[in-house]
Symmetry: C3
Subunit: 386 residues, 3 copies
Amino acid sequence: MWTPEKSEGPARGQAHTAAGSSRQKVISVLLYCTGEMTHFSKIMEDKPFPVQLVEWVLRGVSRVILANNPVSGALILGALVMASPWQALMGTVGLLASTLTAVIIGQDSAEIAGGLHGFNGMLVALLMGVFSAAGDWYWWLLLPACLGGATCTFLFSGLAPLLDRWDLPVAVFPFNMVIVLFLACTGPNNPYFPHNPATPPGAPEALNHTQLHVPEVLQGVVVGVGQIYACGAFGPSLLILGAVLVFSPIMAIHALLGSGIGTLVGLSMAVRHSALYSGLSGFNGALGCMAVGGLFFTFSWRTHLFAIASAFMSAYTDIALSNLLGTVGLPACSWGATLIATLMLLLTARHLSAYRIAIGRVGSPEHNLVTHRHWEEGAKEDSTDV
Amino acid sequence: MWTPEKSEGPARGQAHTAAGSSRQKVISVLLYCTGEMTHFSKIMEDKPFPVQLVEWVLRGVSRVILANNPVSGALILGALVMASPWQALMGTVGLLASTLTAVIIGQDSAEIAGGLHGFNGMLVALLMGVFSAAGDWYWWLLLPACLGGATCTFLFSGLAPLLDRWDLPVAVFPFNMVIVLFLACTGPNNPYFPHNPATPPGAPEALNHTQLHVPEVLQGVVVGVGQIYACGAFGPSLLILGAVLVFSPIMAIHALLGSGIGTLVGLSMAVRHSALYSGLSGFNGALGCMAVGGLFFTFSWRTHLFAIASAFMSAYTDIALSNLLGTVGLPACSWGATLIATLMLLLTARHLSAYRIAIGRVGSPEHNLVTHRHWEEGAKEDSTDV
Amino acid sequence: MWTPEKSEGPARGQAHTAAGSSRQKVISVLLYCTGEMTHFSKIMEDKPFPVQLVEWVLRGVSRVILANNPVSGALILGALVMASPWQALMGTVGLLASTLTAVIIGQDSAEIAGGLHGFNGMLVALLMGVFSAAGDWYWWLLLPACLGGATCTFLFSGLAPLLDRWDLPVAVFPFNMVIVLFLACTGPNNPYFPHNPATPPGAPEALNHTQLHVPEVLQGVVVGVGQIYACGAFGPSLLILGAVLVFSPIMAIHALLGSGIGTLVGLSMAVRHSALYSGLSGFNGALGCMAVGGLFFTFSWRTHLFAIASAFMSAYTDIALSNLLGTVGLPACSWGATLIATLMLLLTARHLSAYRIAIGRVGSPEHNLVTHRHWEEGAKEDSTDV
């Protein structure tokens, strides 16, 4: 979701040599699989193309949830297979189509290696599968999944120079555009690719006649994290949350917090209970919260408050857009979170913009914190490097 | 609606000292309350925060109608209390929420002092009150009014760098976005915040079966100015027009002219009669006419003609958008005027762009005229300063 | 559709003097009417205003189909008169209104002379005529045709600085905006300007109960080129295709190819048969294919493949937008092709962007090819000029 950071490996390396104790060695082994794993990319550079492609694909899988870590990607792919093998296949096909299109049309190879040209295609394919009315293992659906994935790469490449003027990431704009166009194109009556129309959360027929079931709501908060991958089962969602934890604990906390805020927002607007239980109310809040809390801004109590505000706004915008697009049977996907996160990145307000990290320097939240501390120290001692 | 101009006080001061006669002293006392009142802002700088806040709020109130004058703001607030105390309360709460959010998140203090972070929040709160189906004094409505106001400040802060690239003002874009999202979010069936859906002016059920009543149409032209504050009563609308007159006679004339053009446009499209009588047809024309005639362009016969064209386009765009958004029960608010005024500011046509005033230098139309004349004279004599 | 290229006449002149043989003289006479005819513009410079206006209008007519040649324009106007004299009148009135507005508000005279301020107005007037439910020779319709044409010029002038930041052409964005606003403004029940609502291609009532008639589909591919001028007859469409051939054979091939791809896309989405027969499925594909194949990019096998991709995406986007806008009775016009062509121009992918021609240098595809070859040769020998 952001351009791959220029690895600041030496700083971490220095820390290792300075410490040297065996306790830190154990930690460093544990740390090997966390964060951005830029060292792993370097090892992979000499490997043959198919092996490299696997790493790109796994990074692409993790990009969906704002992470950038092949181990997280493998865990998430496992969770998807657990939830539905057909969905996992659809996602992988979309991701491959998208990544290979990027290779063919000549996109920047560093971006491809970072998985930047895969996650939009994966999401499009996953959503095609979820909305399809033809059931699982309808093999013809792989055709639009491939075409949709390829179109995502075109959109990514075209939107980049537009958004770059304001140092904004392309994020999941391509996915949101392509899936809305695909669903509008086929329509519910299409003879080849029929789909179920989306139900707006505030539709009259969706009014709640039953009692709210609190444990299910709490479960829905966790499933909200899984819904980022259109996965509505509890177990796989927990595994996806674990995958985020591997990448960054700060992100995992913000994911849960944002999903909870989204559920609260759903309650305040009296959406239908099924939306709360299935985590559909929560996932936009989770994305909005994760983007601001630690990823694009250095983590601090101020950005934490802004992350909460972002989660609230994302969830409300999602309900509004769901109601609007629902009148023509379309879902709002993650438009809410994407628009609000983009808004937060544009904010000129001094108390937030001071923590903004340039898109080219974004890493994991923990890495951002270290880099920021280095900046401050560097500014005190000498201001030559950084 | 524009960034506060760097006061060109000395020029006005010189005129005073040069004249000196008692007749001009009387005029200068009368003039004290007109225009931008930048001298008043200087007096207020040393005052305690609550007193300053009152000035900011009053400026914010007048910003809605493109003015920037605390006396105008006080008059308008009086008019709103006259029309409906509940609406006046809603507006004030929205304005305060919006302004205080700007203080908290660290927006530029000069912008806050100019009332730039208040008028969008005020409009959102006013429209929430108008569309609410829960009746007056439904206290829970103050909660969304506060949240909506705060969101406006976020949007203002985020849209500013986007629009700044083309030297465009943020104007009422945040208001238009937030109110549409709020109404889409709650929907007509919401159990907590129900609202009346907007009726499109061209809806089949809105066809006119009665004779047009000309005096009511003429009254509707004046009420069109009041509709900028969602106020549909004749008396308060007249007072609001008076408040504009205090700020600038040129603006007041353009407000009436634009409202008249908007009403004509409504007649040409055979909108339902109630829209004509209530001034709903006129207010977009009024805003479009005021923005071009004197405010963002130096007043001349050419800009006057462009102001008329702008009023026509604003009114037609408003009807089109009202019909479109009306299909999902949403109002078009002031999208028409905002989009067309933005278009006029972007115009590269030589006969208009020559009169364009940079956003940072915009003052009252009369002040713009004086400054422009100074430019021309300065260009003839010596071109060192300005 | 693009800004007039700075004529590279000397290069062509040189080629003439260098050749000199009689065979080439014959070719040069034939070539006189092909391409951009920049030499003809020079002859016209001294002529009185009405004569010049005729050239501007004819160039404007050809601009609709991405050509820039007065002979093509005359042929197309003939085709339109053949198809429907009323439609031809409407188009001419819209074109004149648009061009004269540009003269009055002071647009750049080189742009006006290139017909850049006419084609949007012409399209708006043509579509007004097609959608009008009042039948032919309803003289009042000339009033909105004039106003719509004038508004197009305003939009063209205002969008230019926005799009110019990314070196994008304004294209038919003004037409698409104005016609959608006009149709939304009047609505199907308007007493003065009633219109027939557009039928979405995927509407349930549009399901196909009859056998597909292949010869009619093939005829529809040719009519698809005519549909760019909202002309649904076979003969005039053939003449329009001939007019494109006069301007550039590469463009004519891409027009047919794109229209064929659009028809294929229509088949793949099972649109109603009448849309295939009438060429409505094909014209967005044709426009998308022409823009990429040779016009804004130097012709090569790579850009040819991208042109095919562009045709596919344009056609799918058109179906999606038609279904979406069709829910409120509006047509998608050429939004699909315009958006996708703009996307292709923004693409950073190396294998396409290397062939991108700066908007100010765009000529006919054949001229682009020659210029590009000159560049490459110039770069090898000396890199001082170009």
